[in-house]
């Protein structure tokens, strides 16, 4: 089809004729001070806390401090474009970010703008970044499991959909690795993942996105990035933006998982903003409302009741500690807000136990009720054996003669520690996890040398994959009964016969 120039001009003419010119009235104020990502505005008497403010050149800001004689405001964008004496306009809107299915597979900044060069994000829906968490009646207790694919977590620290489970540990102890493995494990499920990177190096984020892409996990994932190069205001905003994107799925009856990596850096960026806004500093120079900063964010993770569609938003916040100190300000705060924590120990990591989960200090306060019955039938024994081992191990270092029973417990403990090790990017199905724990519990591995445990484990998985697909599917449906156990024992014997 060809359009004549005449036609175009007539269309344009009609459009212009039909245009209704209107008058915009906006309240304004004058910028009296600007710098470090902060602006102070004189005037603007009726501005609301959290309202968006427009500066010349389209730069946006958000009013945080409403003082007697000025409005303190954080700036999302280039501070350099704003001068003293500029006119700032009220917008009467709370900051919104785009939400929807179109966000999946994208890497965006804290304002929801694409960073991955894949073009515009075509979405109609926008939602405010700061939303009030749901009330009591709108929720229900967690009841479906969220499988991380990691043996140590799914067995001993089970996580339910809608739960908030903290991942805490020193730097370089595999915190991000757990989060990434959890995302990878959602491939066959209906869980949508959101990864919020706060104050991280851009290179780490790029590496992570590559890993997700290589494993086909980007299709169901949104990555929100406020890297270390971004202003403190964007870093402060990013978890709330990510949470809003996740809530969209939850409110539509779907299941979403959000990872905040990490909230220590988030607290630091908020401290920076607060000090610049001259709010009084408290403990460790954090402002008085740093608890509320994280509690209002994590409260938004929830499991909806069935009338509201039964959707869920699970949160895995990450906190970095210094020298395994759980009693610092931010760690204790976040521990008290969450429904449990996965504690990663530096010592375990360096002694080769990876993931370096300290089972004694890790708990899941609500996930137990969501754990599969089949898994539950093997974990009780696992926990007890591990706890006994931890006690005896210290004891056995004295080198004194040990009786038979103690020695047996030590052998069992070592095998259990061995099977809980897991390499990165290799999440396991619940059935396989249950099976290997069952095998160790029943003592099949006691005779195997420590160095060979891994080989037996691999052999078991390949046997299960090739010969017992159907059996595995049936196995996890219910508690392990005697009949199933017998069949499992047979398989164990069969695998061991090869060694």
């Amino acid at each position: 089809m060809k359009i004549q120039p005449d036609e175009i001009s007539s269309i344009l003419r009609d459009k212009i004729k039909g245009l209704k010119f209107d008058i915009d009235i906006s309240e304004t104020g004058k910028v009296v001070q600007v710098g470090d990502g902060i602006a102070r505005i004189y005037g603007m008497d009726n501005v609301m806390a959290g309202e968006m403010i427009e500066f010349p050149g389209g730069v946006m800001g958000m009013a945080l401090n409403l003082e007697e004689d000025n409005v303190g405001c954080i700036i999302f964008g280039e501070t350099r474009k704003i001068k003293e004496g500029d006119i700032a306009k009220r917008t009467k809107n709370i900051l919104q970010v785009p939400v929807g299915d179109a966000m999946l597979g994208r890497v965006v900044n804290a304002l929801g703008e694409p960073l991955d060069g894949k073009g515009e994000i075509k979405t109609e829906a926008y939602m405010p970044v700061e939303r009030k968490a749901l009330g009591v009646v709108e929720r229900q207790p967690v009841k479906e499991p969220l499988q991380t694919g990691l043996k140590a977590i799914d067995s001993m620290i089970p996580i339910g959909r809608g739960q908030r489970e903290l991942i805490i540990g020193d730097r370089q102890t595999g915190k991000t690795a757990i989060a990434v493995d959890t995302i990878l494990n959602q491939k066959e499920t209906d869980v949508i993942c959101i990864y919020v990177a706060i104050g991280q190096k851009k290179s780490s984020v790029a590496k992570m996105v590559n890993t997700l892409e290589a494993n086909g996990a980007m299709e169901y994932t949104i990555v929100v990035v406020a890297s270390a190069a971004e202003s403190a205001s964007l870093q402060y905003l990013s978890p709330y933006s990510g949470c809003t994107m996740g809530e969209f799925f939850r409110d539509n009856g779907k299941h979403a998982l959000i990872i905040y990596d990490d909230l220590s850096k988030h607290a630091v960026s908020y401290r920076e903003l607060s000090l610049l806004l001259r709010r009084p500093p408290g403990r460790e120079a954090y402002p008085g409302d740093v608890f509320y900063l994280h509690s209002r964010l994590l409260e938004r993770a929830s499991k909806l009741n069935d009338e509201l569609g039964g959707g869920s938003l699970t949160a895995l916040p990450i906190i970095e500690t210094q020298a395994d100190d759980l009693t610092a300000y931010i760690p204790t705060n976040v521990i008290s807000i969450t429904d449990g924590q996965i504690f990663l120990s530096n010592r375990l990591f360096h002694s080769g136990i990876r993931p370096a989960i300290n089972a004694g200090l890790s708990v899941s306060r609500v996930g137990g009720s969501a754990q599969l019955k089949s898994m539950k039938s093997v974990t009780g024994q696992l926990r007890v054996a591990l706890a006994q081992y931890a006690e005896l191990e210290a004891f056995s270092k004295f080198g004194s003669d040990l009786d038979k029973a103690t020695q047996a417990q030590l052998t069992r403990g070592r095998r259990l520690i061995e099977i809980l090790k897991q390499s990165q990017y290799s999440p396991l199905s619940v059935a396989k996890q249950t099976f290997i724990i069952f095998m160790a519990n029943e003592g099949y591995l006691d005779e195997v040398e420590i160095d060979n445990v891994l080989k037996v484990e691999e052999e078991l998985y390949s046997t299960l994959d090739s010969e017992y697909k159907e059996f595995m599917e049936g196995m996890i449906k219910d508690k392990l009964n005697d009949e199933t156990k017998e069949a499992m024992q047979k398989i164990c014997e069969k695998v061991l016969a090869k060694f």
Partner: protein
């Protein structure tokens, strides 16, 4: 920031002592002085500087007040400001005083920007429209800026009323690109 608060204190004090019939003459003084200070910005620096002896500075400041109608009042104000080393905020005080007088007279000063010279009846209709929005008598200060293409932009201290063609076109662009999304 602090300057504004301090200046407000001074202007409030002046206003509280003002009689009904003095208002117009004070306003005339304020306008005259603002204009002369704008023309000679160095003067403020000089009068507020510790580099020169205080009696010299006082003398010059008093010279300034001679031509004003309410010279006694200004004399007092200037000598207090100089002694307290606050003469640098004189223009802020004048500005605030002007605002206060206007609001006392139920008027408001509006800076009106138009694209080109407008005939009287158009200006009147704009002025009426503004009066309706602001609910006060408006005193227009007209500037011509062809960049706004047409229509008008009116600014007061706390409001921006934008009825320009430029703004409407910008908005149109925004709507278009949102729709494309």
């Amino acid at each position: 920031m602090k300057d504004i608060l301090v200046a407000q204190r001074y202007s409030k004090a002046i206003m509280s002592d003002l009689k009904e019939n003095e208002i117009n003459s004070i306003l005339a003084d304020v306008e005259l002085m603002s204009r002369s200070i704008q023309k000679e910005p160095k003067l403020v620096d000089f009068v507020n500087s510790y580099l020169y002896p205080i009696d010299k500075r006082l003398e010059i400041a008093l010279e300034l007040t001679r031509k004003l109608e309410n010279s006694k009042l200004w004399e007092n104000l200037f000598s207090i400001l100089i002694k307290k080393h606050r003469f640098n905020i004189i223009s802020v005080i004048l500005k605030d005083l002007e605002n206060k007088i206007f609001s006392e007279k139920k008027q408001i000063k509006v800076k009106l920007v138009v694209a080109h010279e407008l005939p009287k009846d158009v200006l009147d209709s704009i002025s009426n429209k503004l009066k309706e929005i602001l609910e006060k008598d408006v005193v227009l200060n007209i500037n011509i800026e062809p960049e706004i293409l047409g229509g008008f932009v009116a600014t007061t201290d706390s409001l921006l009323i934008d009825g320009s063609i430029k703004n409407n076109l910008v908005k149109l662009l925004k709507v278009k690109s949102k729709k494309k999304k």
